[in-house]
């Protein structure tokens, strides 16, 4: 009889059991708030940003967005070599804005190569010196035309 009484729950024991149940339930609900990591290999894109004199634009704020989206996909500061590294996934059109406190920076829209092979590519446009000479040429041409008009009006 004493043995059976052991299994008969008194009111006090019921309350204790409910309390224990609540504690265990709460501890399992806390678990998902912890952080975990997964390490795998993925294709990343590396953007290098330079000053006009080719020195890296290091440790400046950037904002990388998918073209047309208001909120940035990634933001932070460039590394010591002026680089931004990101994993684009399937998105191809991007906008990169770089802000330096002294007013330098850029706002660049670019499209990624659909070829997944890691071919590096750089902007191989017209060289800086060519643009410089072109600009001087345009200026002198504009003033040359003005000079022609000045001479004609004098006659």
């Amino acid at each position: 009889m004493k043995f059976l009484q052991f299994f008969i729950l008194t009111m006090q024991n019921r309350i204790r059991l409910i309390f224990l149940f609540l504690i265990f339930t709460y501890s399992t609900s806390v678990y998902p708030h912890g952080a975990g990591i997964t390490i795998d290999r993925q294709e990343a894109q590396v953007i290098s940003i330079q000053h006009e004199d080719d020195t890296p634009l290091a440790d400046v704020d950037y904002e990388l967005s998918i073209a047309g989206e208001e909120w940035p996909y990634q933001s932070g500061r460039t590394d010591a070599r002026g680089r931004v590294v990101f994993i684009p996934g399937t998105e191809r059109r991007w906008r990169l804005r770089v802000f330096s406190a002294d007013g330098h920076g850029l706002d660049e829209r670019f499209e990624l190569d659909p070829d997944p092979l890691p071919h590096g590519h750089a902007d191989h446009g017209v060289s800086r010196i060519s643009k410089l000479v072109l600009g001087v040429g345009i200026l002198l041409s504009v003033f040359g035309i003005a000079l022609l008009f000045a001479r004609r009006s004098k006659r």
Partner: protein, 214 residues
């Protein structure tokens, strides 16, 4: 000192285009009378000098870099209106060919550097007296760099307050005036000194040639 594209909100650059447009019209009036056969080649050479000087980056103590402006020389030799027009052309070419400064930022750059810079220099030349000619000239050339730099810094520093998202994050240039004013102004104090020395050298040459009386 050039503000690139994407740094200034439309609420700022659209009115700036209206104001700059008005000043471009004002500066272009009677252009034929003011441009003669002697003035045009000089203006061409000095404008080309300002264009090239604005693209050569010079190292500044402290790890930063900057470039000369040339607005002091333009203002000294040609006055406010021609200097403003010539420097606007320089800014347009630098923006189109190099992306140094932007098309949206063009009116702000032109008003701050071209108009205010040339005005400061021209006024210092008008108030110049023979005894302290060099002082007025160098101070004018120095301020023709520093005051526009301060204006550009203030315009940039106002952007977070002008345009931001609902949560307060800036849509355009993200730094406030407390950050951007010293960051822009301090290097330009050095640039202003170099610009003043260059302007002084050109002034001495121009004085010997009689260009200043023209």
């Amino acid at each position: 000192m050039h503000i690139p594209d994407g740094f200034i909100a439309p609420q700022c650059y659209l009115p700036a285009y209206l104001v700059a447009g008005g000043f471009w019209v004002w500066a272009s009036r009677d252009l034929r009378q003011r441009l003669d056969e002697e003035t045009i080649p000089r203006l061409a050479v000095i404008t080309a000098l300002a264009y090239v000087a604005g693209l050569i980056m010079l190292p500044i103590p402290g790890g930063s870099s900057g470039h000369l402006v040339g607005i002091g020389i333009l203002g000294m030799l040609f006055g406010i209106r021609l200097a403003f027009l010539a420097y606007s052309l320089v800014l347009l070419l630098q923006a189109l060919l190099f992306g140094a400064g932007g098309i949206t930022a063009l009116p702000v750059n032109a008003l701050a550097v071209g108009l205010v810079g040339a005005s400061v220099m021209t006024l210092s030349m008008r108030w110049q007296n023979q005894r302290y000619a060099v002082f007025y000239l160098t101070t004018g050339a120095f301020l023709a760099v520093v005051i526009p730099a301060l204006l550009v810094a203030l315009v940039l520093g106002l952007q977070p307050a002008i345009a931001h998202r609902e949560d307060g994050t800036p849509l355009f240039f993200p730094f406030g005036p407390e950050v951007v004013v010293p960051a822009i102004l301090l290097p330009h104090l050095v640039i202003g000194v170099v610009e003043a020395l260059l302007t002084l050298a050109v002034w001495r040459y121009a004085k010997r040639r009689g260009w200043l009386n023209a």
